[in-house]
């Protein structure tokens, strides 16, 4: 039985669920950034210089949003060859982004910003950027699954809902990153 289905003029329940999930993720990061603000006013607070590499990773994730969008368009036009390669590209860019974040953490760590000890922006940076990277990783894994599905010959899928869901999520983690990055630039 197909329990979930929807008429064309209505939002599909899975897409809708994603929007609520996005609301939920926003609350989590809102919690963390407000904790940052509260703590920033306590004595003994130290700031950090955000490493340059995070600017470049911002570029990477922005481009990946673009490729995701074109992939979605390709899927809707049924040009599957293009869809598959763009999907792959998006996932690769996602992984590159995560790698660059890790390099950024390393640089910061080598410049003496440690987790241990007195409170400061660095502790938040590791955790907030790290959690964001985890969310990107989740998206990349979902892309991988989509990619494998696109290759399996058994399932001929014309349903664009999963692709739309993942692309919305991908744009969301992109926007979330912009917010977090700007937040740290302004605050530290």
């Amino acid at each position: 039985m197909n329990i979930v289905s929807s008429s064309p003029q209505k939002i599909h329940p899975h897409k809708f669920t994603l929007w609520i999930a996005i609301g939920s993720i926003i609350m989590m990061f809102a919690g963390l950034t407000s904790a940052y603000i509260v703590k920033g006013e306590q004595p003994g607070w130290s700031t950090v210089v955000v490493p340059k590499i995070f600017y470049y990773s911002t570029g990477v994730i922005l481009i990946s949003s673009l490729t995701m969008q074109i992939a979605l368009k390709a899927f809707k036009e049924r040009s599957m060859q293009q869809y598959r390669s763009l999907l792959t590209l998006t996932a690769v860019l996602g992984v590159v982004f995560i790698a660059m974040q890790i390099i950024g953490f390393k640089q910061l760590f080598q410049s003496g910003v440690k987790l241990e000890g007195g409170s400061g922006a660095g502790q938040f940076l590791y955790i907030i950027f790290g959690l964001h990277a985890l969310h990107v990783l989740g998206g990349a894994i979902a892309l991988l699954i989509m990619f494998l599905k696109a290759f399996s010959s058994k399932i001929r899928n014309y349903n664009s809902v999963p692709v739309e869901v993942i692309s919305t999520y991908w744009h969301f983690v992109d926007l979330l990153w912009i917010y977090l990055f700007v937040f740290f630039l302004v605050k530290s």
């Binding site: 329990i3 209505k10 669920t17 609520i20 919690g31 963390l32």
Partner: protein, 606 residues
């Protein structure tokens, strides 16, 4: 895409043809595993939540019996306890460390695992698809995951009872530094790691469930079921899910920071600490324990309404059915639940009046807190008006629903005392607070849950529960609850603090020695009666009186239009269409008119 649905005007979402293309019910064969264990049928998942919740309730309740023994008889020993419990009761007495472990676990288990997981998990799962006319949840798979995360969290939490250093013992609110420093107490070691792990799994379970409940209610209603035709249970469970989805993630971020303080050496919550036990001064600087309190109570206060709203919704529904009258002020009920949902996010600091909160900020929180009394009073007024001059059928479900209203009034009134920051300086952390929240949240939500179980048991199992046992259960529990918690108000007013295992050292609290014995005795009796309920529940599953017709209570709502034992998919044929609201009782000379009946040509307007 319907943007309104995302921006807070759910009423305008029309859903008419979601189900047009699927009229058939499950055909493929089900194995024992897919039917009872990894089931994706919302009704089975609901039963899994219910029974797991009941097991938790017995464990949590038993813990309270143990520490009430200590509180009532602080100078006596009970050697038989050591025989049963071993190291938990060395020499027949609960040690200080075990006492704190017991209260902590009692709170955590009952607040989260019973009254959140067990209550919302059961009734949101069971009722949402049945009452809005859907075949299942938006994502049955996520729904199944929600249960299994709950189950996994339960196992981890239980396992913490058996480890060498014991479970976490710093209170259900898990304030640092007790929760952040392994060296602070035995329970702060592995017990706390297990506690955080279990709670994180619990949060994931709540989020998976909540997402599903919201999108199901907004997207999968049957033809004709506009938002304002939904029974109030649906509104209540919907707002509950909204609260959970927006506040649990904040708790999770609090826990993540806590984990880093525990294992990463960070200073989010820790500052300037010297541990006497190990004679070390910690390097942590600039941390703030108050920050944790903010993050905790930003969930913590909405959490109390996550517990209460489902009970409110079910009580509204059951009261209207058994008063054979439409619920009074349907839109006012919806509006007040909406107001409660909004205000729930704006009052958290009333738990922190004495933390050195800026007094001006405190007064803002006093105002917002006292504002909650308005929607609460509207709801009480509407319940009372619904039963006013009604020809009430005193079914067990109805008795518990009325008991719920009584308890909500009694407990809500003491909230107004506490909501005044000046009074709270005296009352904070005393037995007054214990009495307040046990009555208004603990017992009253339990009453809502019992009402729901007695009322919907016939739908769940096709049989009735035994009435005689139910009435005994009701009267003893109601009288017992008041006898236990009412006197605690006086103890609290006299300044008796909470979270001590022995008050005999205080001259001023010696006067309460007999009272404490009395409370403990009643607590044991009330606990025993809950076992009677459990017996009734399981006995009736197999031996209860069988339903002969599908709609035993004469209710208007859709769940009673399904077969007595509905399969996966709920309705064998098409999903019925809805033509009216859920509260046409005693209308135009008829006892009730089901929601599925079209409006007649000469029908009066409600």
């Amino acid at each position: 895409m319907s943007n309104e649905a995302l921006h807070g005007h759910p009423e305008v979402v029309t859903t008419h043809d979601v189900h047009h293309d699927e009229h058939h019910v499950h055909h493929h064969k089900e194995t024992f595993i897919t039917k009872y264990v990894f089931s994706q049928d919302h009704k089975m998942i609901a039963k899994q939540f219910l029974i797991t919740g009941m097991i938790w309730a017995v464990i949590g309740g038993l813990m309270s019996v143990l520490f009430r023994l200590q509180l009532g008889y602080p100078d006596q020993t009970f050697p038989w306890l050591e025989d049963i419990l071993g190291r938990w009761a060395k020499g027949g007495k609960i040690s200080a460390e075990n006492y704190y472990a017991l209260v902590t676990m009692h709170g955590t288990v009952l607040v989260f695992f019973v009254l959140t997981g067990g209550l919302s998990g059961t009734f949101a799962n069971f009722l949402i698809p049945l009452q809005i006319g859907a075949r299942d949840m938006a994502s049955p798979f996520m729904n199944m995951l929600s249960y299994w995360f709950f189950f996994g969290g339960s196992i981890v939490m239980i396992s913490s009872l058996f480890i060498q250093t014991g479970p976490f013992s710093g209170g259900w609110t898990a304030y640092p530094p007790l929760s952040a420093l392994g060296d602070a107490s035995p329970g702060s070691k592995t017990g706390m790691d297990l506690w955080i792990t279990a709670m994180a799994m619990f949060v994931v379970s709540s989020l998976l469930g909540g997402l599903n409940y919201i999108s199901t209610v907004l997207n999968m209603r049957t033809k004709g079921m506009s938002m304002t035709r939904m029974p109030l249970t649906m509104w209540a469970l919907f707002f509950t899910a909204v609260l959970g989805v927006l506040s649990f993630p904040v708790l999770l971020s609090g826990f993540i920071l806590l984990l880093f303080d525990r294992h990463g050496g960070t200073s989010f919550y820790l500052s300037d600490i010297y541990i006497a036990a190990t004679k070390t001064a910690l390097p942590n600087e600039g941390g703030s324990a108050i920050l944790f309190q903010h993050l905790f109570w930003f969930l913590g206060h909405p959490e109390v309404y996550i517990i209460l709203l489902p009970a409110m919704g079910m009580a509204s529904e059951i009261i209207s059915i058994n008063a054979r009258k439409p619920i009074f002020g349907y839109m006012a009920m919806v509006g007040s639940m909406f107001a409660i949902t909004i205000l729930a996010f704006l009052v958290w600091a009333h738990h922190m009046f004495v933390t050195g909160l800026n007094p001006f900020l405190g007064s803002v929180f006093v105002l917002l807190t006292l504002l909650i009394a308005v929607p609460s009073a509207i709801k009480v007024f509407n319940w009372l008006t619904t039963i006013w001059k009604a020809n009430i059928k005193f079914t067990p479900g109805m008795m518990f629903a009325l008991g719920f209203v009584s308890l909500f009034i009694s407990g809500g009134l003491t909230g107004i005392f506490l909501g005044n920051s000046t009074l709270d300086i005296h009352l904070h952390d005393t037995y007054f607070v214990i009495a307040h929240f046990h009555i208004v949240m603990g017992v009253s939500a339990f009453f809502g849950m019992f009402a729901g179980i007695y009322h919907w048991f016939p739908k769940m199992y096709g049989r009735f529960m035994n009435n005689t046992m139910a009435y005994i259960h009701f009267w003893v529990t109601l009288a017992g609850a008041y006898l236990i918690f009412w006197p605690m108000h006086y103890e609290g007013l006299a300044g008796m603090p909470r979270r001590y295992l022995d008050y005999t050292g205080w001259e001023s609290f010696k006067q309460f020695a007999e009272l404490n014995k009395f409370i403990s005795t009643v607590a044991i009796i009330v606990f025993a009666v809950q076992l009677l309920f459990i017996f009734n529940f399981f006995y009736s599953i197999f031996k209860g009186r069988k339903l002969t017709k599908p709609n035993p209570w004469g209710a208007t709502t859709l769940e009673w239009t399904t077969p007595i034992r509905p399969g996966h998919g709920n309705w064998p044929g098409e999903i019925p269409e809805v033509h009216r609201w859920a509260y046409d009782y005693s209308k135009d000379g008829r006892d009730f008119i089901p929601q599925t009946e079209p409006i007649g040509p000469n029908e009066s307007h409600h």
